[in-house]
Symmetry: C2
Subunit: 476 residues, 2 copies
């Protein structure tokens, strides 16, 4: 039905502008430009209009008009997504709906351990607000200084704290959603238990704005840990990392708040290319783990626990070397080293990236099989493997062969994706563990997911957005 509209006529543009006021309806190419391109520059869309509503009521009126006129709408919050979900297509017919002015923290309830925040609240702002009332909002990822809660929920964001606290979905207790018709679905509840019908909340979370627009949410807060200890560990193999993970989890339970796997190559790239990093361990190892223990009891308790875990792992000859950060500064340095891994890959030339997950027990098998698959597509290509091992989630990136040609390597993009994702599928894994589908993986999802799953998703899409105006061309 979108085809009925071949362009945005000026009268319609003005009707949209009247809803938010001219000041918040952007038309000038320079004003619009930042909303049309995403961080990596992979997706560059067109649009004649960016709307920046200042209230849920304005969002409602925008979507009502969009449905009435069959105008496609692309919701956008922090514009940090990596799969192009927040960028309009090239038609120029899509209106960008920016949620960034809906940036109020509506309430913090310290006894219920909840915060009610609007879609445009920046993640770091929310983390700081929680910290200010002696609570932890655990969602944590590289873009936290600019990404916004609406996008975090719409993409079901993950990050480095999923292991103990869950992903964005698991941190969300309730949502406020504006439906394509403009109707507001108010499900802003603080309840840990509610069995009154179908779970609608989790349909909107992770839907990348294709079913409605999340305008606010109730999110979980946690007691702030009294002690945190970070260790950098060297290991002989991925199997050893898996054994360490099992032993640490059995002993620490949810006090094990991070378990990041780092291959030798990204480790070496970071030492070579990142500025101001310090080598975490003396010797070289095939694999490294950055692990964190958080204690609600005391700093001493966290220290004792991480020492127990590591010394037991030494005795069992699971690990080869380990350094426990001796200061906050060193802890930050270890985390900084981890955060710099993606950046440090760039000087090595073109890369093809994957965001995959497999059952945790299959991680060593994945690493072994995927390496062969990569070599079969591009002999000499360099595997850069790191990620959230505790979640079964690896960022499995491939750098072109040393001295190879960037363009020639990027021509292998689809072949490389297929080779790696075939291994993922053979191990019952996921081709998008935490970044989502957006435009980047939509065709592959439709081509390779069980047809039944695609059919059910399409039924949901039709049921919630019959006019097809919500972020068309994304996900499904």
């Amino acid at each position: 039905m979108n085809d009925a509209v071949s362009h945005l006529d000026p009268a319609l543009v003005q009707r949209f502008a009247d809803i938010v006021g001219d000041r918040y309806a952007l038309h000038a190419p320079d004003d619009i430009a930042p909303y049309l391109i995403e961080p990596r520059g992979l997706w560059h869309g067109r649009s004649q209009l960016v709307l920046r509503p200042g209230s849920v009521e304005e969002v409602s009126r925008i979507l009502r008009l969009a449905t009435e006129t069959r105008t496609p709408v692309v919701p956008q919050s922090g514009n940090t997504g990596l799969v192009g979900a927040q960028v309009p297509d090239a038609s120029g017919r899509q209106v960008v709906l920016s949620l960034s002015r809906l940036n109020r923290i509506r309430e913090i309830d310290v006894q219920s351990n909840t915060v009610t925040a609007e879609a445009g609240v920046i993640l770091q702002t929310l983390q700081q607000a929680a910290d200010g009332v002696d609570r932890l909002f655990p969602l944590s990822l590289g873009a936290q200084g600019s990404c916004q809660i609406g996008g975090n929920l719409s993409s079901n964001a993950g990050g480095t704290n999923v292991l103990a606290y869950g992903n964005a979905r698991e941190l969300c207790l309730g949502v406020e959603v504006v439906l394509p018709t403009g109707e507001v679905f108010d499900d802003l509840r603080k309840l840990k238990k509610d069995n009154t019908g179908y779970d609608l909340k989790n349909l909107f979370v992770g839907a990348e704005g294709t079913l409605g627009v999340i305008t606010a949410a109730v999110l979980k807060l946690f007691p702030k840990p009294k002690g945190r200890e970070v260790a950098f560990v060297g290991l002989p193999s991925a199997e050893a990392a898996l054994a360490l993970f099992g032993a640490a989890g059995a002993r620490a339970g949810s006090a094990l708040t991070a378990f990041e796997l780092i291959g030798k190559r990204p480790y070496d790239f970071t030492l070579a290319h990142a500025s101001g990093v310090v080598r975490p361990l003396e010797g070289d190892w095939p694999w490294y783990v950055l692990t964190e223990i958080s204690s609600g009891r005391s700093a001493e308790d966290a220290r004792a626990l991480i020492e127990d875990i590591l010394s037991a792992a030494f005795d069992a000859e699971i690990i080869g070397d380990a350094v426990i950060a001796s200061s906050l500064a060193q802890s930050s340095a270890f985390w900084n080293f981890r955060e710099l891994l993606p950046e440090a890959q760039k000087p090595e030339g073109a890369s093809i990236k994957h965001d995959i997950s497999v059952p945790i027990s299959s991680i060593p098998a994945f690493i072994e099989r995927a390496e062969k698959a990569v070599a079969s597509v591009s002999p000499g290509a360099r595997v850069v493997c790191f990620g959230h091992m505790g979640d079964g989630n690896l960022h499995y990136n491939i750098s072109r062969p040393e001295g190879g040609d960037d363009h020639a390597f990027l021509d292998l993009y689809h072949a490389m994706n297929k080779a790696v994702h075939d291994v993922v599928r053979a191990l019952d894994g996921s081709i998008s563990a935490e970044h989502g589908i957006g435009q980047l993986k939509r065709d592959e999802l439709i081509a390779t997911a069980p047809p039944m799953a695609i059919d059910l998703m399409r039924r949901v899409k039709r049921a919630f957005d019959p006019a097809g105006i919500m972020n068309p061309g994304k996900v499904i």
Copy 2:
């Protein structure tokens, strides 16, 4: 379209019977009787046919035929549900589909900490299988000796371990579902992170068999705690219980594995009517808490932690008395006391029960307001309040006035429900925290939920079950 069928004709009955074989197609009234009435005897349905398929393929063929012939189907597993979701209606036209023969544990993966179990596996059997590989499957509730996993998931069961481990939904990583058309949706994945489209799994979990039939699921396992300590605490007020919960959570984090609130009246009823119980505390208190600490480290660690928490609470004058169980036998006795609360209410005459949740911070306000609401409906009626305070979930039951008439009191059923639930709604709570909707609360849900929520649920129902054969008359 169901109205097109006014009865089950013998030829159709035989076509269904041929799918499972005559031995597993029950017709005789005596054979069928146990499937038509639920534990409390509130719902007594009729049916001419109970089918007991032995494979997913048979379930698939049954539903395909049901859709083809517009025959309503009522899925049933352990038949322990408390809202009538698993019982057919009085028409006699509904076929009961028993999942109890699908009772295989397909796989346990100790490294991934997952178990893949079929719908008919009895909860306790699954707990024991996990225990056998040194893991914990934490879902735990009164009916665990007979309830089955399919029903636990379809009702999103809660219980006493939700506080640290989550409800059935949070314990489920993947599902296998037979859709009304007979198509099998295989989403049996072990992944903690998977952002490939809409969250379909959580639509089926908690849908009470109205969208499809869950035939198997992948469930989370946890390391078995090395130490567990249980304490029975006496407190001056519900506010004090809330303060203790906050302090215990801040210190223990997810090592706080149970926090059950018990009012003086259910405590006294249990002492008076339950056989073989021992008084947990010397003195009398307005409120009691049964709390449990579990440690992955050691028994000594659990002991030290619970002692820290309780002694700090004494010093802060939050609690009045506390006994830490000195043996496994005493721990069991404390838990047994908790489990006997509902039973011990029966000798006090007719009762009207509620399964509610409110934001945890609102629990004292709920208790205060609800008590007034109850008195306004039935002066002298006795509030029996206990439940999973850590989840904001109270079983708020009302016994008739002392010496009052049972029937006269039960005539107040709807007035009492309304009075209590009005307080729940005023506090943004839920009228069904863990038991579900079924037949019991369907009319109230439709009448009192936000119309938008009901509309969206109906869209989902139509999208998944256009023929309307899946458990009609339940939930929505």
